[in-house]
Amino acid sequence: MTEFLMYLTNGIVIGVINAISAIGVSLIVGIMKVVNFAHGELYIFAGYFSYHLSTTLGLPPLLAMPLSIFFIFLIGIGMERTLIRPTYGNEMYSLIITFVLSIVLQNAALLIFGPYPNKPPNLVSGATNIFGLYHYGNQRLLSFFISIGILLFIFYLIKKTWFGKSIRAVSQDREMSSLVGIDHFRVNMLSFGLGAALAGAAGVIVAPIFPVTPTGSSAISLTAFVVVVLGGMGSLKGCVVGGLLLGILENLGAAYISTMYRSIFGFLILILILVFRPWGLFGQRTQ
C-alpha cells in the first residue's frame, strides 16, 4: 500500500510539472496554430542554464532558477521573431521549421553542454513524513508546491489580466482581435516567449530531481504533446487534468506493468485520442 501511495505521489508531482510543460505547448498551439517541436530542447536548455549558473558560476539556486527561465523566455522571443513569424498561416512550414529547430538545438546542446547528465543542486534536502504513511523527498515536495504556484500564476495571468485577455482574444479570432486594437504580432511574440518560459520553468523545476541530458528532449516534447492532446488543445484545465492523468498512469504503468515500455503508454494514449476523440477531454470540437 505504501508503495502504491509513493507511485501515486510521484505521479502527481510529475503530473503538475507535465501540466506546466503542456501549457507551454498549448499556449503556442492555441494562438499560433504552431506545434513547438523544440519544446523539449528549451526545457533542457533551462536545466543546463540552471546547472551552470548555480554550479559553474556559483549563483544561489534561488537566483539561478528564475534567471534561467528568463533566458529561455528571451530565446523564445528570438525564435518567434526570426523563424516562426514568416510562417504564419503556412502550417506545413511551421511544422518543418520547429522540427528542424529541435534537431539543431538537440545537437547544439550535445556540442555545448556535453552528453553527460547534469544536476543542479537541490534547494532543500531530507524527507518528510506524509500523513504518517510514508516518507517522501523534500525536494520533490518543494517542486510540487512551486509548480502549483506557477500554475496558479498562469491561471491568474490568463484569466484575470489584460494580457491574458488579449491572448484569449487572439486565439479565438485573430482578425477581430486586431480590429479591436490588439497588436497581435506582439501578442504572438510574447506568448511564444511565455510558452518557452513555461518549458524552461518545468525544466528548471525538474532538473534537481531528474538530471538533464541532451537526448531526453524528445521524450519531454512528446509527453507535453500527449498531455495537450489528451486535455484538449486550447484548454488550460485540460492540461492540468491531462498532465496529472498521464503522470499517474505512466508511473503506475511503469511500476506494475513494465518499465521498458514506459514511454509507449504516452504514445498509445496520444494515438488513441487522436483517432477517437481528437478534441481531447476539454477541447472544442472543431472537426
Binding site: 511544422l95 529547430l101 534537431i103 545537437n107 547544439a108 556540442l111 504533446f225 496520444l270 494515438i271
Partner: protein, 308 residues
C-alpha cells in the same frame, strides 16, 4: 523543343550513371549507394509533403518496417531477400494505408503528431523486443548476392531508384498529380470541385510508404545489419532535410538534395559528427529564406538564362 529536352536529360543522366563503378573507389561507391537510398526516401517523402502538404514523420518508420520484415523473414524463415524485400514493401504499404486512413482526415498538426507517435512506438517496440529483432545489437541478415560486390549493389540500387523515380514522375504528371497539387493549393476549392481529397491523400500516403518500405528493405540487405537506427527520428530528419534543402514540391529537388547532403556529410565527417547540426542550420535557412530549396534557386537562374 522543350519536350525533347525533357526526354533527353534523364536519358543522359541514366547513361552517365552507368559509369561510376568503373572509376570510383569502393568507399565512394558506398556513398553513391547510400545516396540512392536517400533519393528513394526523399522523393517519396516529397510526394506527400511537397505535393500534398502533409508533414509525415513516419517515413523512416516505414523504411524500418521494410527492413525488419524482410530481414526477419530471411533470418527466421529462410526467405530469399529478393522475396523478402517485396513482402517488406507490402507490409509498409499496408501500414501506410492503415495509418493514412487513421490520421489523414485529421490533417496538419494532428497528422504530424500521430506519425511522430507511431514512429517512436515502432522504434521502442523494435528496440525492446530484442528476442526477435536483436534490438540495438542489430539483426544480421543475408545480402542479395552470394558473392558480395559493391558494384552489383550499386546497379541494383540504381535500377530500383530509376524505377521508383519513374513511378513518382508518372504520378506527379498524371491526373493524380494534378489532384495532389489541387489539394495542396486549396483544399476547400479542390473538394468543392468534386475531388475526394481524403482518398487522394490516403493513396499518396500508401504509395509513399510502400516506396519507403522498399528502400528500407534494400538498405537493410545491403548493410547486412539492421538496427533501430533505421526507423529513428534522426534518419527522418536527414530525409526531411534532403527534401527541404533540395527543394520540396519539385521532382528533381529531393534527388539533388540527397546526393548533395550525403556527399557533404562524408566530407564533414572528418571534423566530427557535426553534419547533422550543420544540415539543420542550412535547412532552417532554406525553409526560412528560400522555401523552394536548391532547385528553386537554380531554377530561377535557369529561367532567366533560357527565357527569350
Amino acid at each position: 523543343m522543350a519536350n525533347a529536352k525533357k526526354f533527353w536529360v534523364p536519358i543522359v543522366f541514366i547513361v552517365l550513371a552507368i559509369f561510376p563503378p568503373f572509376f570510383l573507389s569502393q568507399y565512394w561507391l558506398h556513398v553513391m549507394i547510400i545516396s540512392l537510398f536517400y533519393v528513394m526516401m526523399a522523393s517519396s517523402w516529397n510526394l506527400i509533403a511537397g505535393f500534398t502538404g502533409q508533414v509525415s514523420f513516419a517515413h523512416a518508420a516505414f523504411s524500418g518496417i521494410g527492413a525488419y520484415v524482410s530481414g526477419m523473414l530471411a533470418v527466421y524463415l529462410g526467405f530469399s531477400p529478393w522475396l523478402g524485400v517485396l513482402i517488406g514493401m507490402g507490409a509498409a504499404a499496408l501500414l501506410g494505408l492503415g495509418l493514412g486512413y487513421l490520421c489523414i482526415r485529421m490533417g496538419g498538426i494532428y497528422l504530424s503528431l500521430t506519425t511522430l507517435g507511431f514512429s517512436e512506438i515502432l522504434r521502442i517496440i523494435i528496440t525492446n523486443e530484442d528476442r526477435w529483432t536483436r534490438g540495438t545489437m542489430g539483426l544480421q541478415v543475408p545480402g542479395f548476392f552470394t558473392e558480395y560486390s559493391k558494384v552489383s549493389y550499386y546497379y541494383l540500387f540504381l535500377i530500383v531508384a530509376i524505377l521508383v523515380l519513374a513511378v513518382i514522375y508518372r504520378i506527379i504528371h498524371s491526373e493524380m498529380g494534378l489532384t495532389f497539387r489541387a489539394v495542396l493549393n486549396d483544399e476547400l476549392a479542390a473538394s468543392s470541385s468534386g475531388i475526394n481529397t481524403i482518398r487522394v491523400r490516403i493513396l499518396a500516403f500508401t504509395i509513399s510508404g510502400a516506396i519507403a518500405g522498399l528502400a528500407g528493405g534494400l538498405y537493410g540487405h545491403y548493410l547486412m545489419l539492421i538496427t533501430p537506427d533505421i526507423p529513428s527520428l534522426g534518419q527522418m530528419f536527414l530525409v526531411l532535410a534532403m527534401a527541404v534543402i533540395g527543394g520540396m514540391g519539385s521532382f528533381v529537388g529531393p534527388i539533388v538534395g540527397s546526393f548533395v547532403l550525403e556527399i557533404l556529410s562524408e566530407y564533414i565527417r572528418i571534423y566530427g559528427e557535426v553534419h547533422v547540426l550543420l544540415f539543420g542550420l542550412v535547412a532552417l535557412a532554406v525553409a526560412r529564406f528560400a522555401p523552394e530549396g536548391l532547385m528553386g534557386i537554380i531554377g530561377k537562374r535557369w529561367r532567366r538564362e533560357w527565357s527569350y
